[in-house]
Amino acid sequence: VIVEPRLEAQDTACLTPRHAVTEGRWWPFVLTVAACEAMGMAAVVKSYLVAQATLSNEAEFIWFWAGMSLMELPLIAVIARRRTGAAVRSALLLVIGFASYAPKLLRDPSAPIYHDEYAHWRATYDIVATGRLFSPAQIVPVIARYPGLHAATAVIVDVTGLSIWQAATVLVLLCHLALLAGIVTLGRAIGLDSRAATLAAVAYGCNASFLYFDTQFSYESMSITLVVWSLAAFAQAIRAQSGPHRSAWCCLTVMLSFGCAITHHLTTIELTAVMLVISVALSVPRAARSDGWRGTAVTAWLLTAFTLAAIVGWIYFLAPITVAYLSPYLGTALNQLTQMLSGSSSGRQLFSASLSPWWEHIAAFGVTLVAFVFAAGGLPLLLRRWRSGRLAAGRERALLLGYATVGLAYFPSTVFIFSPAGAEGARRSWAISWIGLAVLAALCAAWLVDWASLRRRAAARWTALGVLTAMTATALVGGTAAGLDASYRFPGPYLYGSDARSDTPELNAMAQWFLARFGPGHRMVTDRYTGLEMASFGLQDTAMPSAAFPVWDLYTARPGQPLGPPSLFTVLTQGHYRYLVVDKRIATDVPLLGIYFEGNEPGDFVQPNGQPIFSGRLAKFNGVLWMSKIFESDNYAVYRMNLPAGSQRYQVRPAAPLRGKLTVSQ
């Protein structure tokens, strides 16, 4: 699909080489772009340095977006030019890939800080240490059954001698770059020219997951790239004439989709859904009828069936835990939406605990509007070509319609953002639906750029281009703002109850002290944020609290009352839980994420007066006779639980004088 507005003879004047960057004058242009890149990176670095000092500061956001805009907008402008060559576009897209990885790299250059990163770090460590896959995983148990990412990382560690985090950074960076290249290849395979395909990749970069979530060391970061490449190979297989080329791309589709199945559950399910939509489109005669269309449809259905079989087979035989892991989200989300619609629940208040400034919130809402404008612009372009006969029935038409359908699924999915349980799922689905949306947006954007460039009056031309730039900037800012909160995106002081700002030198020291003192693999009870560190760098096995294993009952018991129900002690004793690690701030602070232990904890831990229920209830552990406090720092205390309790009796009355001696060796 070569996107171009109707060119009149006089309009084409502005496309003549006198307006182009000519051969002899290329270097000032390159230097200007290079200066923008350098200044942009400096601004991003500045934003992170500003962020370190304060909890949240508007200056950090301004510096950050100024930097990102400086780095990305000039490159996008060059990509959008009609005269830019395909190879140059690819090279510039790679630079955008590197630039868009900078925020995450600078956020945690030396160690994991996101929730899932801790889990994958530990899973990788276990493979390196034991030489085996499928060891029980800490923090997120389901990842043990999807070893794609951490197995690859472990091999890089083994072969290169890099640390786990260095190897992970290299692998995720390569996946991030390959993701953009995959979108371009997919765009080309479904019929876009190189400009529209590269613009599709740029548009995809505005989705909520792109800048931070899909650059973290997590299985989804690798699998989303595999999904895109699976779809690209799938499209190539469909577009290829039957014969060796089709077989080749079918083989690659099979390999990539199986790779996806062993890497991540949800994205593979979403991949299957997209392939299903495409297969349906390829089976509709009105869209797909052309030479050999039945054979193409059969190929598509077979590949879809294979992908479905791969993920179903993997779940059934190797990862049955996936069903229990995923099903509550969808069920609860639908239930909450129903309650919202019936008026019995008010739903989720967006940005209620956000640290980001108001204009990011507006941009986050604005991105849906911008996406709608671009999608609404892209669809008529497709339909016009269909009606005019320039998009004849066949594989290309079916593929474009299929991806347009996938893209339009983004808009109904935004409703789930109002449901507490559905918000996370909705956000994750955008990484997929934006593939289709990016195709539509690219069609519209390429057309708009040409349309704006053809305005005869300079004021009209620059106004149109300015509006386009503003819309791109809004999508860039809003897409990221709709994804992750500022506590994940920016460094800063300690923030209780935030996954990404809970790691402190004190917690690190405690975890390392415990590891050095007792060794790895001890079962312990602790809160979510302490558990991240203990289960990863501390190499311990932390409890997974649930309604059947309510470890929070240890904390909520009032002083003088017996701890927990007997069933809890049965589980603790039989499970060989020997340690309790207490973060004392649990008694004074309300967590940013609203969770102390796990998402399934009771909702009344914060009392109406704003105080945590644990206030005044932690000192009791010092008097529990079956516990020994073996460590205390400013904010943490470690207790050894001598279970089963009650077998030892203690002296309670003054006895004969007991005299000891304190000796200190400085």
Binding site: V45, L105, A178, R649, T663
Partner: protein
């Protein structure tokens, strides 16, 4: 010697040109990965090993699948990386099925075998293509992405160099940002103090023999400056704390660890005693304190006063 090396080079170059023997060259490159073991592990070895490890298996897969010419240079590189990463994961799965321990060596051997098969298949495809196919691909194939009539710019060969240029520019940009951030002044982390048992005996209820016992512990001051503390030891019973040892005052410098010991005689009777060591900060308006505790009891068979509580 130079002449001999030159002639050998020319003979290989002319006899086995890159375009006709690249799978074999890539296989040799992968086999040579073993040589990187002589380089110390870390970034230096990674610079040599990562391009091979995350490039060769995927590139050979594309060659074996006859898909090499269907995509441009950037896409080829990206797809090769993803396929290579998948091969790493698949190799670990194969080793798991074969019940072989996953290690650098076992994965290398497994991947070398895979690469041999892939290289043989890719080489065969090259020969078949050279024998059968004309250089020009059908016009409506996606393979024509490099020669779409409206495209202006580099040729396929130059396209690869543009991609390399993009990668180098990106690495410079990202590396520059990382170095600038690392070398900037960062906020100093908050200091802290901790107190912990350090001996192997301080777990559970400790049995004390007739000669008593010494319980070691350590105090670490991770504040910036010197801090003054009071160290006390007591035993608790009946809701009160009873002095166990004479208190000590100590000054601990910043980022220093001090080792200490609480020596106690054998407790009287059959009951356990809850002993507590407390460290209190001195010289501040709101002094913070830290404590550790343990249960101690005389060795079995010792009699004494009643008054035990569960």
């Amino acid at each position: 010697v130079i002449d001999l090396a030159y002639r050998l080079y020319q003979r290989i170059r002319l006899g086995y040109p890159w375009s006709g023997a690249w799978p074999c060259y890539l296989l040799v490159a992968f086999a040579a990965l073993a040589l990187t073991a002589v380089v110390p592990g870390g970034p230096a070895r990674a610079v040599l090993a990562v391009p091979v490890l995350l490039g060769v298996p995927g590139a050979l897969t594309l060659g074996a699948a006859q898909a090499r010419r269907s995509v441009d240079a950037t896409a080829f590189g990206a797809l090769a990386v993803m396929l290579s990463a998948l091969w790493l994961a698949f190799a670990t799965l194969i080793l798991t099925v074969l019940q072989v321990r996953i290690s650098g060596v076992s994965v290398y051997v497994c991947l070398l075998l895979v690469c041999c098969v892939l290289a043989a298949a890719a080489q065969r495809q090259l020969r078949r293509r050279a024998a059968r196919e004309p250089a020009v691909l059908p016009a409506r194939e996606p393979a024509d992405v490099l020669s779409v009539p409206d495209e202006i710019g580099a040729s396929a060969r130059r396209g690869a160099w543009y991609a390399v240029g993009g990668v180098l520019a990106g690495v410079a940009l990202l590396g520059g940002g990382a170095v600038a951030y690392a070398s900037a002044a960062h906020q100093a982390p908050a200091g802290y103090t901790w107190l912990a048992w350090s001996g192997a005996k301080a777990d559970g209820v400790i049995t004390v023999g007739a000669h008593g016992i010494a319980l070691p512990f350590e105090i670490t001051n991770e504040e910036r400056g010197t801090t003054e503390y009071r160290l006390t030891a007591s035993w608790t019973g009946g809701g009160t704390a009873l002095a166990l040892a004479a208190p000590r005052t100590l000054r601990i410098g910043g980022e220093k660890t001090v080792r200490a010991t609480l020596s106690i005689p054998q407790p009287p009777g059959a009951c356990a005693f809850r002993i507590v060591v407390t460290l209190t900060e001195l010289g501040t308006a709101h002094p913070q304190s830290w404590s550790i505790n343990a249960g101690v009891r005389a060795s079995p068979g010792t009699d004494g006063p009643a008054g035990c509580a569960p």
